[in-house]
């Protein structure tokens, strides 16, 4: 069918002249050359507008995957996960039950099935560096429903351990961990709560490590002993981008 759209435009004379010359050079002095070129110009413009749009709209589009950027698979990666977690992820039949059960996957592009797949195929960096690894809320719904009885959460936690070991950790997590090392509580007391405790007739500090310095020392001892302190120190905090 012949295109029927029509736009009449007024424009600066010099632009018109330069444009006509360019068109003649490229398409020849035939009928329809101008339309062809103008249409192309409009399309280009539309595309650039599209790309310049806000992040909200851009997010709706699936991310482009550039396979050439993916590091080559490592045969040891899956084996290491199986060893460390005791969870044989190679049993996965890729049914997608976990994804459909996932509260996180319901609102983001997070896809546990794909993580398991990539892991068992050995794409170590892609898995361990991905923000996706940190979108699991450990709700265990997928674990209860998996037809292969794979403890997906256990596998993911193992991969998270491996990520942190490689120094890949999200910034807010480093903060929580530092709190823990300093105070023995992942969420230590704050001034407002001290006041509320008094108001409620509770002691200003709870009878936890907050009250007992010796106990706090013990906890710190354990965190040192198990290598936790060093681990957190070494970790390069990654900015927690939104998913």
């Amino acid at each position: 069918m012949l295109p029927m759209g029509r736009i009449d435009v007024m424009m600066a004379d010099d632009l018109e002249r330069a444009f006509r010359e360019k068109v003649a050079k490229k398409f020849g002095m035939r009928k329809g050359s101008m339309s062809l070129a103008i249409e192309e110009a409009i399309r280009e413009w539309m595309k650039s507008e599209e790309e310049a749009k806000g992040p909200e709209e851009a997010k709706a589009k699936p991310p482009l995957e550039h396979m050439e950027e993916v590091a080559p698979p490592s045969v040891d990666f899956a084996r290491e996960i199986v060893r460390a977690s005791g969870e044989n992820i190679n049993k996965c039949i890729q049914c997608g039950n976990c994804v459909a059960s996932c509260p996180s996957g319901r609102i983001t592009a997070y896809n546990s099935r794909r993580i398991i797949r990539k892991a068992s195929m050995g794409y170590k960096e892609e898995v361990l560096k991905s923000i996706d690894l940190w979108l699991c809320t450990t709700c265990y719904t997928c674990v209860e429903r998996c037809p292969r009885k794979i403890d997906v959460v256990n596998a993911i936690l193992t991969m998270r351990n491996m990520a942190v070991e490689n120094g890949w950790m999200l910034e807010p997590h480093k903060v929580v961990s530092t709190n823990l090392i300093k105070t023995g509580h992942a969420v230590p007391i704050d001034q407002a709560t001290r006041e509320r405790r008094k108001d409620l007739g509770l002691g200003e500090l709870p009878p936890t490590v907050h009250q007992y310095d010796g106990a706090l020392f013990d906890v710190q001892q354990i965190l040192k002993e198990t290598g936790f302190c060093g681990l957190i120190e070494r970790a390069q905090p990654q900015k927690a981008a939104s998913a």
């Binding site: 940190w134 450990t138 959460v153 509580h185 969420v187 405790r197 009878p207 907050h210 002993e225 198990t226």
Partner: protein, 296 residues
């Protein structure tokens, strides 16, 4: 009558929602649950974060906490799902796996402790269900609530199924509804009842917007079901429901849900005639006025 437990507080109850602690200390002894403080206990440690970073550290810290209860000769009682998840699993692994136990004990040796495996770990919901029983709670209630309640179980209370035989069904559990109805309240059916609140697994701390979007669905669904408040048995879910409403409003410019949030011990306190202030109910971000007005 009654039985004493080693009270494990964790972080959020004493350090953010002391009302839950106050309510528990007032209410539980009245229904036969004695509480003894676990002096010097620490973070459980949190299953979503610490266990995600280093399993050995997670296990050793949990072992230390359990050791405190072992020294007291009492079973651990917690009313935080996260603490329950951590301590129950750690206790089970340490009891069953010699290599893990040896590893944890080698870490504990420095501080003069050793895991023996002599105590159990119980969640308050289990104790209420099995020892106090819904009938027992009904007897203790003096002011039946008469409200519509959206009951939220929370994931780590019921899943994974292993180690939690007492739970029964993980898809459609009923025990917390029974315990809630024993307060003279009506447990409403809500579409997203069994969904995760969105806080766990370190998601809330790292990717707040994702966490809040999960929460939003739950709040919407509770509102649609006509619930007067959301009831939980976990301070982390509690925090997510309570503070999350304010954050949602701020981040996404949403109309306030104005959905009050109560931990079971607080709701139990109200039903037993305690005042909202002594239970810390008014210390939430979301004002409880809506339910208090209905109650009076």
């Amino acid at each position: 009558m009654g039985r004493e437990y080693a009270l494990f507080l964790g972080c959020l109850i004493p350090n953010r929602y002391p009302g839950i602690e106050a309510a528990a200390r007032k209410v539980l002894p009245k229904i036969g649950i004695g509480l003894a403080d676990m002096k010097g206990a620490s973070c459980c440690p949190a299953p979503g974060v610490v266990k995600s970073f280093s399993r050995p550290a997670w296990l050793a810290m949990a072992a230390r906490n359990i050791c405190i209860a072992e020294e007291m000769g009492l079973d651990v009682l917690t009313f935080c799902n996260g603490c329950y998840g951590t301590l129950a699993e750690a206790n089970h692994s340490l009891r069953g796996d010699r290599a893990l136990r040896d590893l944890a004990n080698s870490n504990l040796k420095e501080i003069g402790k050793a895991f023996k495996g002599s105590v159990g770990v119980r969640h308050l919901a289990e104790v209420l269900l099995k020892e106090v029983t819904p009938q027992g709670i009904e007897r203790a209630v003096t002011k039946p609530l008469g409200l519509k309640v959206a009951v939220h179980y929370g994931c780590h209370l019921i899943k994974p199924r292993v180690l939690r035989e007492w739970v029964g069904s993980t898809e459609r559990p009923t025990f917390l509804d029974e315990l809630t109805e024993a307060l003279g309240a009506e447990s409403v059916d809500w579409e997203d009842k069994m969904a995760c609140c969105g806080a766990g697994g370190g998601v809330r701390s790292a990717v707040l917007d994702v966490s809040l979007r999960m929460l939003n669905r739950k709040l919407l669904s509770a509102k649609e079901a006509g619930a007067d408040f959301i009831l939980n048995v976990c301070p982390f879910c509690h925090l997510q429901f309570d503070r999350g409403q304010v954050e949602l409003q701020r981040l996404y410019n949403l109309q306030p849900y104005d959905m009050p949030v109560l931990h079971y011990v607080q709701a139990l306190g109200l039903a037993m005639g305690y005042g909202p202030h002594e239970l810390g109910v008014d210390m939430n971000f979301v004002r409880p006025d809506r339910i208090l007005n209905k109650l009076s």
